[in-house]
Amino acid sequence: MLTIESMQAFIEAYAARLEELCAVLDDLDNRIGDGDHGTNMARGFRTAADRTASGTFQDLGALCQTVAMALLSSVGGASGPLYATAFMRFAQSWNVCTHVDYAKLATGVAAALEGLRARGKAEVGEKTMIDVWTPAADAIAAHPDETGLREAVSRATNAALATRDIAATKGRAAYLGARSVGTCDPGSISSAMFFEELADAIAGGVTKTTWQTSAL
């Protein structure tokens, strides 16, 4: 079950993870983009965590809206509006809920994915975070339970690693054409981390990927 407390814990854990792996994400983005994805994400989720840690929230809607606004005003770049959109959709889906079950979790993630697609106009296979959010959302929708959530993490991880072999057609890596093959998409890796931390905050016991640059 996702509660206000586990959501707060998730935001803090994800912020800490991004700070820890900031250089890995920057490195990836350096190779096929402009080298700031880790810095952007860490800055954004640190801001979000600081704003949500202290506050008291009536419901998950208010909490997710606060995260969305924090991201929107602190990230910039492509990832800012995208992750902010995801949280806006969470906020709409979980409005007036103080906690949500797996079914509502699945609805929220599906709504977030739809938001990302509308915002970024990317399809699966274009080497963007859509490649990760899509199988993750599918897995939870197919099995709206703990198994489905763990399945979502493992599919997200695999999908993130699989972006290595794709030539980007959206986002900044698209300008490199075929040269983008051979490096994982940074936004996909940060998205896979997102599902790892989310599942860990909800269900616990998630074995986290080490995400070492050399393997990405």
């Binding site: 250089a23 920057d26 490195d27 350096n30 190779r31 096929i32 983009g33 402009d34 080298g35 700031d36 810095t39 952007n40 800055r43 929107l72 005003s73 602190s74 990230v75 910039g76 770049g77 492509a78 990832s79 800012g80 509006p81 995208l82 915002r119 970024g120 057609t169 959206k170 986002g171 900044r172 698209a174 300008y175 490199l176 054409g177 040269r179």
Partner: protein
């Protein structure tokens, strides 16, 4: 790469303070990363911006005859919608605001979100998206061409249109016309280093160069071995000619833009060849700009932009401008 800075996370903030300290004709909207004219004018307003690290773009173009506001994000990172909104609010004089956006996913999304918010506040808002970089194949399936140095011509010409008192739709039409007619391509001899990361954006061998480079330290479309300045200019120009179809009796404005570390002497050596090639092709040059107009921190390299002119664009290009980075009388 050594940097002249205090703390990486204060880089943009301190730069903006330095800009307004140096140029009393500019001011900073308090609490934001927005630079506006100290003395606004009653006219359609122009807002441009993007990540920092492209100086003098964008704040250097705020002033008479060009922009009304520049919004600066972190280095190479699009500014957030609230910053863009702050800029829009600061400059709207009731006659509407035109956003000049460079075609990057991040910039487009952040500026569009701001535009939506501004519309909701009842501000008349229009946008144009600059996509002048012919290095990248344009296709409906991809993100399309990037916006690079040609953006400065949009600032100049749309800025002159706004200054002349034209209404929003007209200023937008003219900006679109510039965008339709401007073609750019760049190359790098060395990478740049984003202050926050402290690492070079890519590694190049002692005799390698990147062709088709953007302005955010991204690698280019391909890597080549270093050739003579003339050969490199020819390579860029060939592609610009092929993609633009510029041919006699076209008349053009030319920008030879340094990316940061290339000495002006070398920019002129490159421009010499551009002039030679244009003369060979009997393409008339109406105006030339050589210098640093849209940079990538301390990247060595340059870009060439050709703008095909008609009478309207020529007249507006020739209008006076008085900004820190571009003055003409």
């Amino acid at each position: 790469m050594k940097k002249l800075l205090n703390q990486a996370d204060r880089y943009v903030d301190e730069m903006l303070d330095g800009i307004v300290a140096a140029h009393p004709e500019l001011k900073r909207v308090p609490g934001t990363q927005v630079i506006v004219r100290a003395h606004p004018k009653a006219k359609v307003a122009l807002v441009s911006g993007g990540g920092s690290g492209h100086e003098p773009a964008h704040a250097g173009y705020v002033g008479d005859g060009m922009l009304d506001a520049a919004v600066s994000g972190s280095v190479f990172t699009s500014p957030t919608p609230d910053q863009v909104l702050a800029a829009i609010r600061a400059v709207d004089q009731g006659q509407g605001v035109l956003l000049v956006i460079k075609n990057y996913t991040g910039d487009v999304m952040n500026f569009e979100m701001a535009a939506d918010l501004a519309s909701m506040e009842g501000i008349a808002i229009e946008k144009v998206i600059v996509a002048d970089d012919v290095a990248v194949e344009n296709s409906t399936y991809t993100v399309g061409k990037r916006g690079i140095a040609g953006t400065v011509f949009v600032h100049k010409i749309a800025g002159a249109a706004a200054e002349a008192g034209l209404e929003l739709a007209e200023v937008k039409r003219i900006a679109e016309k510039v965008i339709q007619n401007v073609y750019s391509m760049g190359m790098a001899l060395s990478p740049c280093t984003v202050p926050a990361s402290g690492k070079p954006s890519f590694e190049l061998g002692e005799d390698e160069v990147e062709i088709g480079i953007g302005i955010h330290g991204e690698p280019g479309t391909h890597r080549e071995s270093l050739r003579s300045a003339d050969d490199i200019v020819d390579t860029l120009l060939e592609r610009i000619f092929a993609k633009s179809g510029i041919a006699p009796p076209d008349r053009v404005a030319v920008m030879l833009n340094g990316l940061g570390a290339t000495p002006q002497s070398e920019l002129y050596i490159a421009y010499r060849r551009v002039a030679e090639r244009l003369a060979e092709r009997r393409i008339a040059v109406h105006k030339t700009l050589v210098g640093e107009y849209m940079t990538s921190l301390e990247m060595a390299g340059f870009s060439i932009s050709l703008l095909k002119l008609d009478d309207e664009l020529t007249r507006l290009l020739d209008a006076p401008a008085d900004t820190p980075a571009h003055r003409q009388r």
